[in-house]
């Protein structure tokens, strides 16, 4: 199990908790991660609204690097993963476009064949590593905790070009949570969007949308929200204070985790190396419940 690790802008430049928890947990499950050198932004979203060509070029470029390494790309971010899958899909269906890309890639001495394989963290943990390995690795089961899974829009849509889980009834993140000894439950707002892409147009609406979901999660008696998407995490965790202000509810406190952080806690990784101190949401009560190192 060897993969080319693609961080993407958001993780690499600010969501260190996600990166750290991935780097510390994966090897313990027998997943070898190789850093990609010379990579750049996947192009989504910065280019998708400006120039389709620039967007596709950016993704093709990074996939070309992975092809050079001969490894499948493990993209941490839902957005990056979708961007790669979509680009691969588009170039597969347009030889002309592919040729045009390669012409441009040549300037950096790169070439995109279309062989690059992609893997999403759900697929890697749920389908490749699997239940047996994960449950076996759990030394500190997260019993008595009930988490709301938030797979994130881009992990499940658009299903037509292939996403890692069901677009209307995603279950993999729930499974992953239960494998850690915690409880996961369906809730009507599960596949609701965090709203983050609206930031440029209307920051307040983002907080509204995110706030509604956090309220639901709290109302339905969850101990916290779990995701693997840096964009969603940014809104729900980093911006939770702002959300409280916007929805006018100071009590709206919902602990938010990256799944890999919980995974780390369950398999006995120390909190420091999971970057848990970077979570801005009030996670300490949950950490106390979990105990461990």
């Amino acid at each position: 199990m060897k993969y080319a690790l693609y961080l993407g802008c958001t993780v690499q430049t600010e969501q260190y908790g996600y990166e750290a928890s991935v780097r510390t947990t994966m090897p313990r499950l027998g997943v070898e991660l190789v850093d990609m050198t010379g990579v750049s932004c996947c192009g989504f979203p910065p280019f998708s609204s400006v120039s389709e060509l620039a967007w596709l070029y950016s993704s093709a470029r990074n996939m070309a690097i992975a092809e050079g390494m001969g490894l499948p790309i493990f993209a941490l971010c839902n957005g990056c993963h979708l961007s790669f899958v979509e680009t691969k899909h588009k170039l597969e269906h347009s030889p002309e476009l592919k040729a045009k890309m390669n012409e441009k890639l040549a300037r950096e001495g790169l070439r995109y064949e279309g062989k690059a394989e992609l893997i999403h963290i759900f697929e890697l943990l749920h389908d490749v590593v699997g239940k047996d390995k994960i449950t076996a690795a759990v030394s500190n089961p997260l019993e008595g905790l009930r988490f709301a899974a938030h797979p994130g829009c881009h992990a499940i849509r658009p299903s037509r070009i292939g996403r890692p889980d069901d677009p209307e009834n995603p279950k993999k993140l729930d499974d992953l949570i239960t494998w850690l000894g915690a409880e996961a439950a369906d809730y009507p707002e599960k596949i609701d969007c965090c709203g983050s892409s609206l930031a440029a147009a209307s920051g307040k609406t983002v907080l509204d949308i995110a706030g509604e979901k956090l309220k639901a999660v709290k109302r339905r008696g969850f101990d916290g929200l779990v995701t693997t998407c840096p964009f969603c995490f940014k809104v729900y965790d980093n911006k939770q204070r702002a959300i409280q202000a916007t929805v006018g509810d100071r009590e709206l406190e919902v602990p938010v985790f990256y799944y890999t952080q919980l995974l780390g806690l369950a398999i006995g990784v120390d909190q420091e190396s999971l970057g848990l101190d970077l979570n801005q949401s009030p996670i300490d009560p949950v950490l106390e419940k979990i105990g461990g190192k």
């Binding site: 677009p167 009834n169 439950a185 369906d186 009507p188």
Partner: protein, 435 residues
């Protein structure tokens, strides 16, 4: 004069058979299930007159059964066809009932005593039947049949209770399948349709949410002879439902489902079902979500106007985006847009009924091969010239009527059935040398 073969014992097949039999032609009526009657036998009432469906159908079923010119082959399928118009040689495979038709009186004592329960196809899975059973109370012929996949004797070699309790010694575990050879002048295909399975439209939660039903399931729920005796006890908790919503065009008018056509009867049967709810309980709140109200049939517009003004059924133009279920109460919330005002709203409902596409029957391909006739891009039997020859397939002497060649309502099916009878009569006359 040679007999005519009619395939399918629904209302279309029944009508075609009766027309021919009444004019003196011998008919072989082949039905794949244990009883004739088809989907119409499962309906509660029929629009726009609100006749009790089985009540108007049962006499015709019995008439078929008692008609000296009609031979009914149930649990049977056509497995071979050779020859040409005027002289088709047919092979019909009769599957064993494991019950002697000449002895069974349909008293149902056997199914009463049978220990094995299975979901009843007639009740669309909402109710149960035994391993030995009568398809439904008015089944024709009223003869028990054994489901060999379920029967303990056939699966585990034990039980034989039915044999013990049967007073007329009708149970016959040894019964073999039987092949009947027929020589007919024409063939009439009336095999009907089936319902689209809305599981694939995940946002509506069918299969996940207990209180989301298909319209056919609802017909059984609202029917006096249904599993709840016509009381709208919803599946999740048996609570009587007062807020009920219907969603049109589920699977139909949908490129992504593969059924991009309008199923033609849903707007009206939904209206009928809405009126039924109001008749049962006028205080109920009933909403129908539609895209275009298809009121093109005789009396349809008046029926919808009455449903709206007299019964207070609410019609909203908009196809809901999503149905949500409260994890605790199992109540449903519909996310929809009233497209006539451009407003996004939510509607709470105890029960949601999906009006699903009428799609080609899964056996069509097999039958098309046996008969050597064509299918359209969806799988319905094809009429090369639907305008000039609306009931003719691409093979002379083989005709199609009813919903096996596209969505049809009952009167259209009946009219077409008579039409195929006329075509068959013309073939016979030609064979007789009538110039």
């Amino acid at each position: 004069m040679k007999p005519v073969l009619v395939i399918g014992g629904g209302i279309a097949g029944i009508q075609a058979s009766l027309d021919l039999a009444d004019r003196g032609t011998k008919v072989h009526l082949v039905e794949r299930t244990p009883s004739i009657g088809g989907v119409m036998a499962q309906l509660d009432k029929t629009f726009p007159t609100m006749d009790c469906s089985i009540c108007i159908l049962a006499p015709k079923m019995i008439e078929c059964y008692r008609h000296p010119n009609i031979t009914i082959h149930t649990q049977s399928e056509v497995i071979g066809l050779e020859g040409n118009v005027g002289d088709f040689r047919i092979k019909v495979l009769e599957h064993p009932r494991s019950v002697d038709a000449t002895k069974c009186t349909g008293c149902a004592l056997c199914s009463e005593k049978c220990p094995v329960k299975k979901p009843s196809a007639f009740q669309v899975g909402l109710g149960q039947r035994k391993a030995i059973y009568l398809a439904f109370p008015q089944a024709v012929p009223l003869i028990a049949t054994i489901d060999r996949e379920a029967c303990l004797w056939f699966t585990k070699g034990v039980c034989r209770t039915c044999e013990k309790v049967c007073t007329s010694k009708a149970v016959d575990y040894e019964q073999k399948e039987n092949i009947v050879d027929l020589n007919v002048s024409s063939v009439i295909v009336a095999t009907g349709f089936e319902q689209y399975d809305p599981k694939d439209i995940g946002e509506y939660g069918y299969g996940r949410y207990k209180n989301v039903l298909t319209a056919l399931e609802f017909e059984r729920l609202v029917c006096a002879s249904g599993p709840t005796g016509g009381v709208l006890n919803r599946p999740s908790d048996g609570k009587v439902s007062h807020n009920i919503a219907f969603i049109q065009c589920v699977g139909s008018r949908t490129q992504t489902s593969g059924y991009s056509y309008c199923s033609a009867s849903c707007c009206m049967y939904a209206t009928k079902e809405a009126v039924l709810i109001k008749e049962h309980e006028p205080s109920s709140h009933v909403t129908i979500f539609y895209m275009d109200l298809k009121t093109f049939g005789k009396g349809f517009q008046g029926f919808v106007d009455r449903a709206r003004s007299h019964w207070g059924v609410e019609y909203i133009r908009g196809r809901p985006g999503e149905i949500r279920e409260d994890p605790v109460t199992k109540n449903l919330t519909i996310l929809y847009e009233n497209t006539e005002v451009g407003r996004v709203e939510r509607l709470d409902a105890d029960l949601v009924v999906l009006c699903t596409a009428a799609i080609p029957h899964r056996d069509n391909a097999k039958l098309a091969t046996v008969l050597g006739i064509g299918q359209d891009e969806y799988g319905f039997f094809a009429n090369p010239d639907p305008v000039a020859s609306p009931v003719e397939t691409d093979r002379p002497g083989i005709y199609s009527c009813g919903s096996c060649h596209g969505p049809r309502d009952i009167p259209e099916s009946v009219a077409e059935a008579s039409a195929t009878a006329a075509k068959a009569a013309e073939d016979a006359a030609r064979a007789e040398g009538v110039a």
